[in-house]
Assembly symmetry: none
Homo-oligomer: 208 residues x 4
């Protein structure tokens, strides 16, 4: 990566970080491109050299942030979790636990992701994000970790979908507003439910 390219990547990163800061502080609608550019220390016109418009940077940002969170979670589980010894449900719960803790620690991130993440963006994932080429995309890393393919789980994608949606939708109010209960109260129920979801997909189990 040459000096100029580095410079470009830095500008892009600066824009992404500034945009994240503003989007989470003031909301996407209330943030103007002029503001992002000014705050990032570049000229307004320069923004358009890097992103098509506000929604472009927002989508990139969501993929980037959600992807980073997942990859971090996967790495942590791998490092500290004696991954191989744990059963799949335990590995998933460890992952979810890490993510919940990360979201509790960074409520701006929670707000931003929950309000904007959709399964579609999740699927497209980071591929068009910062590192435009190379780099296994995060979903692979994620699937690999879970070794889902090796274990003959039924409809593994549905299983991931159900868990993802369940966790992200139930955490939002619990973490932000302790509604209808705080996270500590809620977590046992959430974990229990996740186990129930996984069970349905176990090789020998059948749904309903």
């Amino acid at each position: 990566m040459g000096k100029i390219d580095l410079n470009k990547t830095q500008k892009k990163l600066s824009l992404l970080n500034t945009a994240f800061e503003l989007f989470t502080t003031k909301g996407v609608n209330e943030t103007s491109i002029a503001e992002i550019a000014k705050e990032a220390g570049i000229a307004k016109g320069t923004f358009y050299l890097y992103f098509r418009d506000k929604y472009d940077i927002r989508n990139k940002l969501i993929s980037y942030k959600a992807g980073t969170l997942l990859i971090d979670a996967a790495e942590q589980v791998k490092l500290h979790g004696h991954t191989e010894q744990l059963s799949l449900p335990d590995r998933i719960l460890a992952l979810v636990d890490y993510i919940i803790k990360a979201l509790q620690a960074d409520k701006n991130l929670l707000m931003f992701i929950s309000k904007n993440l959709s399964w579609g963006i999740f699927r497209e994932s980071v591929q068009d994000s910062l590192q435009e080429e190379g780099d296994d995309n995060f979903k692979n890393a994620f699937y690999d970790l879970l070794s889902l393919t090796e274990e003959n789980y039924k409809d593994p994608e549905i299983m991931i979908y159900l868990i993802t949606e369940f966790v992200s939708s139930t955490c939002y109010n619990a973490i932000l507003y302790s509604e209808p209960a705080d996270m500590d109260t809620l977590k046992p129920y959430i974990f229990h439910t996740i186990r129930a979801i996984i069970e349905q997909h176990e090789p020998k189990a059948s749904a309903e």
Copy 2:
């Protein structure tokens, strides 16, 4: 109710319906107040006699639509469902089934509610909506139907929260985009999971 009040209620309803139409067709951000007013056949200034701004009408609309859906569902279950003979899980599943079918039949409603409904708005519910006085609010109707209080379920509000979030978040992509699977494929998993959630709250059961 005098002639004038009748007229006012009609105007308000007309505005709500028009706004719903536009919000679901073009999106909330892309809809201007001028447009709502024009489409509803009233003057721009008149809008402000009924709603404070676009977000006011949007919130009223969400409560109103979500409330109506729930009340309809509850009534249907009561009428056709031999409510008394059914166990609580079966009653809840019947309710969810009705709602899923209603959302499948009205995808605009699904898009609008899913994108905008939050647990907070759900809790406040319809009380400040159209019928400003009288009328038991819909949440009561809903709780009554479930007879939750009589059955000594553990943390019933958490149970409702988990089910609500789980259903609304998983249905969105499934109904609209058949992602990651169509509704028919998904439903057994969803129902099974709901039963698992309820089980945790049964009088003798314990969570995790």
Copy 3:
């Protein structure tokens, strides 16, 4: 004055008082007719039964307030001032002194009058104000007090004009902001200047 008329006069007075309150608090431009009416406890449409528009009520108010101030001043001087024994300059200074004190005590009144009073309105005076008929207008009362006509002063109207403009323009900043000096510092200079103005008009004196 019948009961209905009294009612009308009360409504008018209520409107005037409310308008004065709002004009001095928020400024004329920033006060809407709807606000005046609401604050006065009458319907918006009713406003138009009493005043043509906002500028109509503002002008009426200026005449009314300025007139009241002058008449009060004249009466005070007459009562407590041993008017007859005082020379004309002394009578005028007593009058000015009373007015300055009144304006110091009621800065809203000062702001309102100074910003809006013009010699034109002063001349038209109260005649179209509240008491639409009868009642010698306040300027007569004022001239009478000064007995200007009896004393053969040269160009008495110019004299009054010079004094009025001088006092009202110099008091504004002094009272409100103590700029460029507070009233106590300024007053000797103002009084001395007024005496100089009067001297030019004395029967035997000549200007310049």
Copy 4:
């Protein structure tokens, strides 16, 4: 100054001139920003690159116009007035005379300044006006001309204040409406009064 900056200064000047024209013709309240921009031949949005709002341009305009008038007057007196030979009172009267004549010749300027100039704005003066740096500000030029500091006058700022307010308030009706007398009739009285004001501040004189 680069080409762009030159262009910017021209746009600003164009806006100021257009705004003055409209403000004096139609009044400040009745002039919209859209109108100023259109008349100045620029886009509506461009206005906001140069001024914050209508009141910003109005204030800048007052300082600018009043400052220009004073500086012009001071220069004229210096050039044609044998300044050094004239006594202070004569210098001041020459200045006032020039200003009165200028205002008689440009009644729009008179209306605009009289209705809007306050001692506060006068004090802040032109410093933030067009020429943002350099340029002795006009008050200095003015004070210098009068050589007030050298002559040990008592409370010179009060003296200037009294004269300024007296002249500007008495000229308004006289020039515009010949009320209560035309300028020629009034001028001897005004000049005489100014001399009386100055006298109070003379080194050996005492007020009152």
